[in-house]
Amino acid sequence: MPDKDGLTAALPVLPPVRRIFRAVVATVVPEAAGLSDEGWCDVEHMVETALRNRPEAMKRQLRLAMRGLQWMATLRHGKPFTRLAPPLRGPFLASLENHRLKIIRVGFWGLRTLALLGYYARPEAAQEIGYTADPRGWEARGIAASENRGAGPA
């Protein structure tokens, strides 16, 4: 029985919808368009790690949402999302984000969250954006925090 932080092998979520997922990520985070193959593997690894212990029903819903995206783009633009010209993809996703139906908005929110997780949870992304938190805290910035004894009982 795997526990909550278990590393037990689970079926990956993304392979059947990889092209759609990458098109969503590159629209949500424009800088992702410049990722190498290795970079994309890292993005997908982050997402698979986050989903590993989530219910199978949720994983099915995510795949369904990505396929629904293809279908809705076809209804609106006559071609699936992955074949839309990049300038059309952003406005199409924005229409889902602002859709009158909550279920569509929530579905897009879920995909957007995965895209952001895949891209920004990578250590490389922290470097790119200048995020410099360090467990050593002030000491990593040359300030001796050992003197930080507080200002007395509150």
């Binding site: 526990d3 909550k4 985070v29 949870a121 954006i129 938190a133 002030w138």
Partner: protein, 502 residues
């Protein structure tokens, strides 16, 4: 299935369970057998790395991604030795008197809460962060409030040897935060209480529990459970539920207690929150130093919001901004120049907002944003934007905007016009909550509540609740110190009841 027997079982090891464990531990010297059952793992000190995804996955329920039933709000709560006290920022406040008055629980007074909390403040080394270790993200908040004539206050925090990693919400990598994992649980264990990790309680029956112990997977963080993996039936003369506002009501519901306790699961509140972000023209110290040092609560009563300083990590920050694409990226890529404020709405109980269970007995949280919550979040966003611009920000991200989500400093005079309640669209605006309260509210009888004022479940002499699910309505401030004070009341009652029950 293996059979075991204890005198007292405590379910959960956070602010409630950890406190009860410590306060009951002297009974062990007299031969009383006490165990704490914790679903999550116990990590070694060197396993707290501060890495965002790695730590979220291991310390939070559902990796921090637990969603409400309609998926419009994310609920963050801990699942580890120490519960949510491992992942909070250590803010140690007492509730306003008007909140406790409004709760109107017979026999519960602010004086009683204060008296008990004072002891825990000393025990947990609650203090104010020294001025020279306040970072600029916090200073700008104070400056902005001052410019506006608003009175920000400094959070007392429970730290010992803080190095300012800013990583509190990922579990302190320096073990500086004095949660139950550092203070109460070790003390309880040294007094003879057993703490069993990776142990999920499936259901409770008449003075018994059915639990499942999980195996530690190869390569996973944390120590293995003290018990062999598998299912157990545990006889217990007293059971104390401290699994939090979601899991305590859910456990009781799947154990069939909803039939005699019609209010079980009701009265859930959560302080729904979102993050406001602004960009300054120069780098500021933000991802170093204690992240949550100041707050502003003067609008809580009138406009139903509280503001707190905060600083989050790359993914959580990205997820918390509305929108996507170039405008979104521009803010994230300005990280060294970002100032952040957390807007928390003070939500009242609402009949819709409650905990139920699904067909598998898993918790389902129903939550809708009432007009009061929407008003609080929008007014809080507006106040945050004012603080940002008063502190010199160049632009801010406005999630509840009528148009673009970016507002430039030159438009600071038009904030009222640019910020609209109609811009609050559930499912579009990223809302999250970490102050989960209610579900087993205290009161008089089973018609209006689940427990009495000391956490005793109505009609079940051997069952107690000791966590934030006891709150009859929202607290309007960070809850952990109040949870500890209430848990202390529960422990005191159990000590009095013990001769009859054990």
């Amino acid at each position: 299935m293996k059979n075991l027997s204890y005198d007292i079982i405590i379910v959960g090891s956070g602010a409630g369970g950890g406190t009860v464990a410590q306060e009951l531990s002297p009974l062990c010297a007299g031969g009383v057998r006490i165990a704490v059952l914790e679903k999550g793992p116990k990590l070694r000190d060197d396993e707290f790395t501060g890495r965002e995804l790695e730590m979220s996955q291991v310390l939070y329920e559902d990796g921090g991604g637990f969603l409400t039933a309609d998926k419009t709000m994310t609920l963050a709560f801990g699942c580890a030795y120490g519960g949510s006290t491992v992942v909070y920022t250590g803010t140690s406040l007492l509730p306003p008197a008007r909140v406790i008055d409004h709760w109107n629980v017979p026999g519960l007074t602010l004086e009683d809460i204060e008296q008990r909390a004072t002891r825990f403040k000393i025990e947990n080394n609650v203090q104010l962060v020294e001025d020279r270790f306040i970072n600029e993200n916090n200073r700008l908040f104070v400056d902005g409030c001052r410019q506006l004539g608003w009175e920000s206050r400094q959070f007392p925090v429970n730290l010992r040897g803080c190095r300012g990693s800013s990583l509190c919400n990922l579990g302190c990598p320096n073990q500086a935060k004095q949660g139950t994992n550092r203070v109460q649980l070790p003390k309880a264990e040294s007094g003879g209480v057993e703490v069993i990790t990776r142990c999920e309680v499936l259901r409770i029956g008449d003075r018994e529990l059915t639990v499942r112990v999980s195996e530690k997977a190869q390569g996973a963080k944390g120590e293995p459970s003290a018990w062999e993996p598998g299912e157990y039936r545990i006889a217990a003369k007293i059971i104390v539920l401290s699994a939090g506002s979601i899991n305590t009501p859910a456990l009781m519901l799947r154990s069939g207690l909803g039939r005699s306790l019609p209010r079980l699961g009701h009265g859930f509140t959560s302080h729904p929150a979102f993050i406001m972000v602004a960009e300054h023209s120069r780098p500021i110290t933000n991802a170093v130093g204690h992240p949550k040092s100041f707050y502003l609560d003067q609008f809580a009563e009138r406009d139903h919001f509280v503001l707190e300083t905060c600083m989050y990590f790359p993914f959580i920050t990205a997820k918390s901004l509305t929108g996507f694409g170039a405008e979104h990226s521009r803010f994230i890529r300005a990280f060294p120049r970002l100032q952040m404020i957390l807007v928390l709405a003070c939500d009242d109980i609402d009949e819709h907002n409650r905990i139920t269970i699904d067909a598998d007995g898993k918790p389902v949280v129903h939550y809708r944003f009432t007009p009061q919550v929407t008003h609080g979040l929008v007014k809080g966003a507006l106040a945050s934007a004012r603080i940002f611009f008063a502190a010199g920000a160049e632009r801010c991200h406005m999630p509840v905007s009528s148009g673009s989500t970016t507002i430039e400093a030159r438009d600071a005079g038009r904030l009222e016009e640019l910020t609209q309640e109609s811009g609050f669209v559930p499912g579009k605006i990223p809302v999250s909550a970490a102050h989960l309260q209610g579900g087993c509210g205290m009161g008089r009888t089973s018609a209006d509540s689940v427990t009495d004022s000391v956490g005793h479940v109505h009609g079940i002499p051997w069952l107690y609740v000791a966590d934030a699910s006891l709150f009859p309505n929202s607290l309007e401030i960070n809850p952990y110190l109040t949870i500890m004070a209430l848990a202390d009341r529960v422990a005191e009652t159990i000590r009095k009841d013990a001769p009859n029950l054990l």
